[in-house]
């Protein structure tokens, strides 16, 4: 690990922003991703600003929805009565990630900003455009069983590893940030980026900006939902493919449907093609399968991860079918 200076900002987000911009460093929350990456010398910040004690650890009701502070622990969010009651998809997605110990450390902001688990990104002897822009991508011709099948680019086929973010995408969340140029909001779907020519630029967050909260709107509360994750072991493993879905049927027609996928793209993937086809349609198995197939038609798998295409299709169709049966 490189040597760095450490400062703690406990009083206010503004203080954290000021400290960071003075020192050209990185924010440190739970540490579960950043400390690991620093130990591997993939990240080498000269300064850390510890934000884990900022007064942003609350979950509050707001405009009929919820505001989840940036330093709320993932475990506290998942167990919070209002989250469990109104946004069970979020609670379930969080609980499907990592381990209980890690969820007791990981924060809302850190979960959004966690980096890919691509092995070549972690291995400093490999070429990686994300770690060293322009150096190449050893995953393309390498072993890429865990890699992306949607929205890939020739420059990077990494996935975003978060479970929580899959639910936040489906629930139309908004990210609240503050920074040297003031406060702003970013729609969750726009927050993470596809790799394109710049896989090292992963989010819309600008240098020095701090996430202060994630908002959940009233419109996505109380929807029947399921989070399903397929992985190499039953617990404590990243997703090969995960699906977060919610479905509301009225008078035999689909009135609201949200589908998001994890483990398939550089960002949590909102299945907009499938959603559009299903909106207003009858909730039948055939319609679910057809929509799932359409969503995966643009997929560009490699030699090791073609299984994800069929897996994602089956998972979308079966989760929606289960939700339709619960309603019936």
């Amino acid at each position: 690990m490189n040597s760095f200076s450490y400062a703690r900002a406990s009083e206010s987000p503004d203080l954290a922003v000021a400290l960071l911009n003075e020192n050209q460093g990185r924010y440190l929350a739970g540490g579960t991703n950043l400390i690991d990456l620093m130990r591997e010398e993939i990240e080498t910040p000269a300064a850390l600003v510890d934000i884990s004690r900022l007064p942003l650890a609350q979950i509050e009701e707001r405009e009929g929805g919820l505001r989840i502070g940036a330093t709320v622990k993932n475990s506290h969010c998942a167990a919070h009565p209002l989250v469990r009651d109104r946004y069970p998809l979020l609670s379930s997605a969080i609980l499907h990630g990592a381990s209980a110990q890690l969820r007791n450390m990981a924060t809302t902001g850190g979960n959004l900003m966690q980096r890919t688990r691509c092995y070549y990104f972690y291995d400093t002897a490999s070429r990686c455009n994300k770690r060293t822009p322009g150096s190449g991508c050893d995953a393309a011709q390498g072993f890429h069983r865990i890699h992306a099948i949607l929205g890939t680019s020739p420059h990077c086929i990494a996935t975003h590893p978060s479970d929580m973010c899959v639910a936040l995408t489906a629930l139309d969340a908004t990210v609240q940030v503050t920074g040297p140029d003031g406060e702003r909001s970013i729609a969750f779907g726009d927050f993470h980026r596809l790799p394109g020519n710049t896989p090292h630029v992963e989010t819309e967050l600008r240098a020095g900006e701090l996430i202060t909260a994630v908002d959940l709107p009233a419109s996505s509360a109380n929807l029947p939902s399921i989070y399903r994750k397929v992985r190499d072991r039953a617990s404590y493993a990243f997703a090969l493919v995960s699906v977060g879905a919610a479905l509301r049927v009225e008078d035999g027609r689909i009135a609201d449907v949200r589908i998001a996928l994890g483990g398939v793209a550089h960002k949590p993937w909102r299945a907009s093609i499938a959603e559009q086809m299903l909106h207003g349609a009858e909730p039948t198995e055939a319609n679910f399968r057809q929509a799932a197939e359409a969503e995966l038609t643009p997929a560009t798998p490699g030699h090791d991860n073609a299984f994800k295409v069929e897996l994602a299709q089956r998972m979308i169709a079966s989760v929606l079918q289960e939700l339709a049966e619960v309603k019936a």
């Binding site: 760095f4 540490g31 579960t32 209980a100």
Partner: protein, 169 residues
Amino acid sequence: MPLHTFQLQINGDTRTLSNLDPRVSLLDAIRDHCGLTGAKKGCNQGACGACTVLVDGERINSCLTLALQYEGRDIRTIEGLAEADGSLHPLQKAFVEHDGFQCGFCTPGQICSAVGMLAEYKAGAPSAVTDGEVGELAGAELQERMSGNLCRCGAYVGIREAILEAAAQ
């Protein structure tokens, strides 16, 4: 880079760490600077749970965080679970009784994790296998809640029995 002098509260004792490099993890501070070698370094990357300690009653992996972040917080390690008179914590007793270990390397982490897990379970915290109401602590529910602790010796049968016995008390 500036060094830091600060205090950690471990098992009720105040430990002063003098001129510490900010890079020192909480695990290394506990083991190498405070001489409490119960918590183990298995993977040093959050993947095994051998380094599990309790902070304000919640279980965490001490390897993936900086010691400086835990200044003033209430830290408990395996050394701090027994009573002052030396009588073992119910989970420690149950692990001995049910052979909840072979080599013992993962055991301090398993026991600290189980202490945290039972507190979460009793407070009604859900798990990924909980369907609606929190279910009985057995089978998949217990396995899921303890999945953050690996045992290379595969002493899982004894570990499960020990935890279930302590939970029933």
